[in-house]
C-alpha cells in the first residue's frame, strides 16, 4: 500500500535530522511491502484534508520557526481536519510547540498556534538540553521506553486532563517540572525528543506507521518483527546516557 506522508516545511524545519525520522519510516514501511510517498507541504500550500495518511512537522531554529509560524496558523483548519479524518501526525520540537494553542515569547506576547494539542508553551530564559528517557503506555498494559535528546527553551504546559506521550524517567521533559513529556491526541503525537527519535526507538516508528495505515485499514495492523539488534544497541546506549547525564542544565 502507498502511505502518503505530508512533510510540512522540509526546507525550514529540519534542524535535528528530521530526515532521519523520514528515512526510518520509509525503510520500515518498505520492509513490510508498503511504499512511503513523501509530499512536501511548504509555505503557501494548503493541507488538503483526506490527502495524507501521516503528517510530519520537524523542528527549526528560532528564526526559521518564525518564518513558518504564521503560515502554519493559516493551515490550522486543514491540519485539524486531516487528523479528525483519521490521519496520524508526528511533530518534533518546534513543530510540537507550533501545534499547541499558543506560544508566549520572552516579551510576554502570545503568538497563536494551530490548536491541535491542548497545551501552551512559554519561553524560558534557559535552555533544557540533554539526553532523555521516557516510559510510555500507548496501549493499555504495554509499557515501553523512548530514548532521545532534547534542546528547548520553551516550557510546555499541558491542559488538565490532557494525555502526555510519556513519563520522564531521566531528563527534563515538557517543562522540567511536571515529570511528563510530549502530548498525544488519538493518532497525533508531539514531542521534544529528537536524536533523531525513530532510529533508536523502532517500536515507536512501527507504531506511527501502523497509525498511518489505520486511516485506510480501519485499525492499526500488527507487523512482523524486524531484526532490530542495532536499533536495540543504539537505544540501550542512549537510555544509559539519559540515566547518567540527562536533565542537567
Amino acid at each position: 500500500m502507498n502511505i502518503i506522508v505530508g512533510h510540512l516545511y522540509p526546507d525550514y524545519l529540519n534542524i535535528y535530522a528530521d530526515r532521519g525520522n523520514i528515512a526510518v519510516l520509509a525503510q520500515r514501511a518498505a520492509w513490510r511491502g508498503h511504499e512511503l510517498e513523501v509530499r512536501s507541504v511548504s509555505v503557501g500550500q494548503p493541507v488538503e484534508p483526506g490527502e495524507h495518511d501521516l503528517l510530519y512537522v520537524g523542528g527549526g531554529q528560532d528564526r526559521e520557526q518564525e518564518f513558518v509560524a504564521e503560515d502554519l496558523v493559516a493551515k490550522a483548519d486543514g491540519v485539524r481536519a486531516a487528523v479528525d479524518g483519521g490521519a496520524a501526525l508526528l511533530a518534533v520540537c518546534g513543530g510540537y510547540q507550533l501545534l499547541g494553542r499558543s506560544y508566549r515569547d520572552l516579551n510576554g506576547a502570545d503568538l497563536p498556534g494551530v490548536g491541535l494539542f491542548p497545551l501552551e508553551t512559554v519561553a524560558g530564559d534557559t535552555r533544557m538540553i540533554g539526553d532523555v528517557l521516557l516510559e510510555c503506555e500507548l496501549e493499555p498494559g504495554v509499557v515501553r521506553t523512548l530514548a532521545g535528546f532534547e534542546n528547548h527553551a520553551g516550557r510546555t504546559l499541558l491542559d488538565a486532563g490532557a494525555t502526555a506521550l510519556g513519563r520522564v524517567v531521566a531528563g527534563f521533559g515538557n517543562d522540567g517540572q511536571s515529570g511528563y513529556e510530549g502530548c498525544r491526541v488519538g493518532r497525533a503525537v508531539g514531542t521534544y525528543l529528537h536524536g533523531p527519535l525513530l532510529p533508536r526507538n523502532p517500536w515507536f516508528a512501527d507504531w506511527i506507521l501502523a497509525q498511518a495505515l489505520a486511516r485506510r485499514l480501519g485499525e492499526p495492523p500488527s507487523f512482523e518483527p524486524l531484526p532490530d539488534e542495532l536499533e536495540q544497541q543504539a537505544h540501550a546506549v542512549s537510555a544509559a546516557r539519559a540515566r547518567s547525564r540527562g536533565g542537567r542544565r
Binding site: 535530522a17 526559521e64 535528546f149 533523531p196 532510529p199 542495532l230 543504539a234 546516557r241
Partner: protein
C-alpha cells in the same frame, strides 16, 4: 612580580599533567592561570611585541591557522596554539609557553571569540564561516553570529579584519567595517549543482527570503543575492579563480590580490582547503607578508593536526579526516570520493562535550556518496550503533557493517581489512581522533601532539 609567579606555577602544572600521563596537558596551565587571575591572559598577550592575530570559523580554523603559520614563520617567531586548544584557556596556555615569541597566532572557538578578542586586543582578525555545529553546546547559529557582530564592533579601530564574503552571515560584517578585506571564490566551473541538504544560511540575513545562488561552492558558501531586497555577496578583494581539483592529491588555483596574482598548488585536496588558503593568505597579507611568501608558505603546507593527515603504520597508511558537523563532514566525504571511493572505512562517533553530546547531526551528513564503493564499514566509538543505523537506513546491507565500539580494536580491524601498501580511511569525531592518534603514537608511528613543534 605576581604575573611571573603565576606563570611559573601554571607551567609547573602543565609538566605535572604530562608526567601523570593525562595527555598533552596543553590546556592545564592556561586553565589554572585563567582561574587564578583572568586578567593575566590580557597582560601576557600585551607582552607580545607584534601583537596577536585571531582566526575563527566553524570549519577550517585549525588548518587556516596552520597555513598562516607556515607563511609567517620564516620571519617571525610565533606563539601558535597548533594542537587546537582554542578556548581562552588554550590561548592562555600558548601564551605561557611562548617564550621569545613576537606574534601571537591563535585559532579561536567561535563562541569564545568575543572574550578572547576583548582580552587579547588583536591587531588582525580573520573570520571564515559559520555552519550549524553542536547545537547542544553553541546554541543556534544566530546566537554565534550575534556574538561575532559584537566582537567586530568592539575591535580596536586599527585592527585589520579579513572576512569570507561567500558566507552571508560573515560577509555582512563588512558593512560595519569599511576597511575590511573580503575574500571569496569566483569560479562557477567548480560550483555544486544545488545547495546541499545541510546548507544553513540560505535565507537572506536582512529579510529572510531564500537567496538566489549564481554559484554554491561549499554548503551555503557561494555567490548569493536576495531576489527581494538585493542583499548580495560583497565585492571580493582576494579571490580564488581557475581552480583545479586533483582528487586526494592536491588542488591548484590562481590567487588574485590587490597586489597581483600567483598560481598556487596546495598539497592538500578539496575546495574547502581553497577557502582555508584564501583565509590564511588574506590574514598573512594584513600582517605584512608578501605575495611570494604567501605562495611558498601555502605550497609548503602539508596537513594540520588530524584534519587531513596521512600516517604510515607499518606497510599501510592511515588517512585521517576529522568530522564534526554536517558541512565539514560533507566536504570530507566528497574529498574522499573524488580521490576514488574506498572499499573499507572506519568511522568513529563519540559524544563527549567536545564532540557534541547530541549525535543527531550524523543524519544531516550526506554519507550516501560512500555507499556504492563500500564493502565494509567499521563503526566505532561510544555511539557506534547509532552510526551503524545511519548507514543501515541509507541502504547499506547490514552484513557490510561491523559495530566495534572500542576504538583500538576497530582500528586493528580496519588495518586487517586493508591490503599491504594500501590506505585506510578514518573519519573520527574530535575526541575519537585524539584517542586514535594516541594509539598510533603509542605504537611509535607518530609523535604525541604535545611534542610536535614547527621546525
Amino acid at each position: 612580580m605576581r604575573l611571573a609567579l603565576e606563570i611559573a606555577l601554571a607551567r609547573a602544572a602543565g609538566r605535572l599533567s604530562r608526567l601523570a600521563g593525562a595527555g598533552g596537558g596543553t590546556t592545564v596551565p592556561g586553565k589554572l592561570l585563567w582561574k587564578v587571575d583572568p586578567g593575566a591572559v590580557d597582560r601576557l598577550a600585551a607582552r607580545l611585541p607584534l601583537g596577536s592575530a585571531l582566526i575563527s570559523a566553524t570549519n577550517g580554523k585549525t588548518t587556516t591557522a596552520a597555513m598562516a603559520a607556515e607563511i609567517l614563520r620564516g620571519r617571525l617567531r610565533l606563539a601558535h596554539n597548533r594542537s587546537g586548544a582554542n578556548l581562552v584557556s588554550g590561548v592562555a596556555s600558548t601564551l605561557l609557553d611562548a617564550r621569545g615569541a613576537e606574534l601571537g597566532l591563535f585559532e579561536v572557538d567561535e563562541a569564545a571569540l568575543p572574550e578572547v578578542a576583548e582580552r587579547v586586543r588583536p591587531r588582525a582578525v580573520c573570520l571564515g564561516n559559520l555552519f550549524r555545529d553542536q547545537l547542544d553546546r553553541y546554541g543556534e547559529l544566530e546566537h554565534v553570529a550575534a556574538g561575532w557582530r559584537e566582537a567586530v564592533r568592539a575591535l580596536p579601530a586599527e585592527a585589520a579584519l579579513a572576512l569570507n564574503g561567500d558566507d552571508p552571515q560573515v560577509g555582512d560584517l563588512a558593512e560595519d567595517r569599511p576597511g575590511a578585506v573580503v575574500f571569496g571564490v569566483d569560479d562557477p566551473a567548480v560550483a555544486r549543482p544545488a545547495l546541499q541538504h545541510a546548507a544553513d544560511s540560505k535565507y537572506c540575513v536582512r529579510c529572510g527570503t531564500p537567496y538566489d545562488y549564481a554559484a554554491a561552492y561549499v554548503g551555503h558558501l557561494g555567490d548569493y543575492r536576495c531576489p527581494k531586497c538585493g542583499h548580495a555577496r560583497p565585492r571580493l578583494d582576494v579571490i580564488a579563480r581557475e581552480i583545479r581539483l586533483d582528487g586526494l592529491a592536491s588542488v591548484t588555483f590562481r590567487l588574485e590580490t590587490p597586489d597581483g596574482a600567483e598560481d598556487v598548488r596546495l598539497g592538500v585536496p578539496g575546495l574547502y582547503n581553497v577557502y582555508n588558503a584564501l583565509a590564511a593568505a588574506t590574514l598573512a597579507r594584513a600582517l605584512g607578508a608578501s605575495l611570494e611568501e604567501i605562495r611558498t608558505g601555502l605550497e609548503r603546507f602539508s596537513a594540520a593536526f588530524g584534519r587531513f593527515e596521512r600516517i604510515a603504520v607499518g606497510d599501510r597508511r592511515l588517512l585521517i579526516l576529522l568530522i564534526k558537523n554536517p558541512a565539514g563532514a560533507n566536504e570530507a566525504v566528497r574529498t574522499i570520493v573524488d580521490g576514488g571511493a574506498p572499499a573499507h572505512a572506519v568511522i568513529a562517533l563519540n559524544d563527549a562535550i567536545a564532540d557534541g553530546r547530541d549525535v543527531s547531526w550524523i543524519w544531516d551528513v550526506d554519507f550516501e556518496p560512500l555507499l556504492p564503493g563500500l564493502d565494509r564499514l567499521v563503526a566505532t566509538g561510544d555511539r557506534a550503533a547509532e552510526l551503524a543505523l545511519r548507514f543501515k537506513y541509507a541502504g547499506l546491507d547490514a552484513a557490510a557493517i561491523e559495530v566495534i565500539p572500542d576504538l583500538e580494536r576497530a582500528l586493528d580491524r580496519g588495518l586487517e581489512l586493508t591490503a599491504a601498501g594500501e590506505e585506510l580511511v578514518l573519519l573520527p569525531t574530535y575526541t575519537a581522533m585524539l584517542a586514535l592518534r594516541k594509539t598510533v603514537a603509542e605504537r611509535g608511528f607518530v609523535r604525541p601532539y604535545w611534542e610536535e613543534r614547527a621546525a
